[in-house]
């Protein structure tokens, strides 16, 4: 299993957090810093957590995600989205009751129905899609390994049909 990694990026309004590999945050000193980073910028209106390349999340990491959702709600932001194509990870998130606090999708939001199911989500489908795409593109531009890591996500986003 790949050692855990935490990547983040920010575009105009979207904050993207990507967790990769076996994420075990046994020391939580960096977590508060991360939370600060997410919320320090008042212009952040949506938060996307990409778990498409995460193999496993430990309990401390789950706690961090929960804190992000709570903070987002306190600040009046839309529910953060979690992209989780791995059914095991989704099971773990559901066992923690995360369905009530996050928009959990197996892939980046692309279907109109998903948006209907989740009225709390601010912005149109196209808007959310653009934000996710933007954040991933920013990450890709940062360095070569990011470019490799996010290639497939961006490809998927670009390939998915534009909403009418």
């Amino acid at each position: 299993m790949q050692t855990g990694k935490l990547l983040s990026a920010k575009t105009d309004h979207a904050y993207l957090l990507k967790l990769m590999g076996d994420v075990r945050l046994t020391l939580c000193c960096t977590l508060d810093k991360l939370l600060e980073n997410i919320f320090v910028d008042q212009s952040t209106t949506s938060i996307v957590i990409d778990l498409s390349e995460a193999d496993n999340l430990d309990s401390t990491t789950l706690g961090l995600l929960a804190k992000i959702a709570i903070k987002a709600s306190v600040m009046g932001l839309a529910q953060p989205s979690i992209i989780s194509p791995n059914p095991d990870i989704t099971l773990l998130l559901e066992s923690m009751g995360f369905r009530d606090y996050f928009v959990i999708t197996p892939q980046p939001l692309t279907r109109q129905e998903e948006l209907k199911e989740v009225p709390q989500l601010a912005g149109s489908e196209a808007h959310v899609r653009a934000q996710v795409l933007d954040a991933h593109r920013t990450l890709m531009a940062m360095n070569e390994s990011n470019r490799q890591a996010f290639k497939s996500v961006v490809q998927a986003l670009e390939d998915c049909p534009h909403p009418c």
């Binding site: 046994t26 939580c28 430990d58 309990s59 401390t60 789950l62 706690g63 929960a66 804190k67 709570i70 059914p87 095991d88 099971l91 773990l92 066992s95 923690m96 009751g97 009530d100 606090y101």
Partner: protein
Amino acid sequence: MEPERAALSAEQEKIAQLEQENADLKTALALLRQDQQAGCLVQQSLLPENPSQLNGWHFDYWVRPSLYLSGDFVDAWAPCKDKVLFYLADVSGHGASSAFVTILLKYLLVRYAEQYGCSPAALCRQVNQSLLKIGLEKHLTLVLGCVDAKAQTLTYTLAAHLPAPLVVDAQGQVSELTGKGMPIGLFPDAAYQEYTCAFSQQARLCVASDGVLELLSGQGLEARQQEWHRLVEKTRGEITALRSQLPPESGRWPDDVTLMTLTGC
């Protein structure tokens, strides 16, 4: 000759210095180990008698910390004549910081049970509020139940616990305790539900912490949960038999592992 001798002496000095550092490190490590062992003794003394007989129920458990101190904890006690309250908790992370929370949890649950009675959901709500108020940045998953020998029922609340607790009936059939709930100490508005099912004294309740799943074969959470189910079926949920099915205890396990069973005497 002179420069060579000087180089030799410098080398010897370096070796002596390293030897000293090594000895210092060993001493520091021994101190830390003693400290952890002392902590471990205190934590063990807070666990209930093993096994315990309570109001006609037999409570049995096994806690195996990944290092010295455990973030897993179990307890069972009889708050009144017919009832037995029990729980298995798994605090996020492991080691000393998680172990502190297990001690706090024990204190809170015993106190709140005296204050508010034996409703598992009400107790979960209270502990959730308390942990959030203290702001420890730690959360936990919990199976909290109350068996009633007279009514032959089990009332329980599940707080995000994996794997699902299993009941082995008198015929050896295994079924999962249904229900779900939020973890404790994360969400201020978390709601906890209470479930009640028939539970005769011939049945055995078998609860494990999620550390056990990491020891089982199978790819992914779902497959490992099924493997756990199969093991409980095979051993009828009997702790010694279950333990013999787990990998040998030598070597460090990635997470704390706890097993707990409750059955009629």
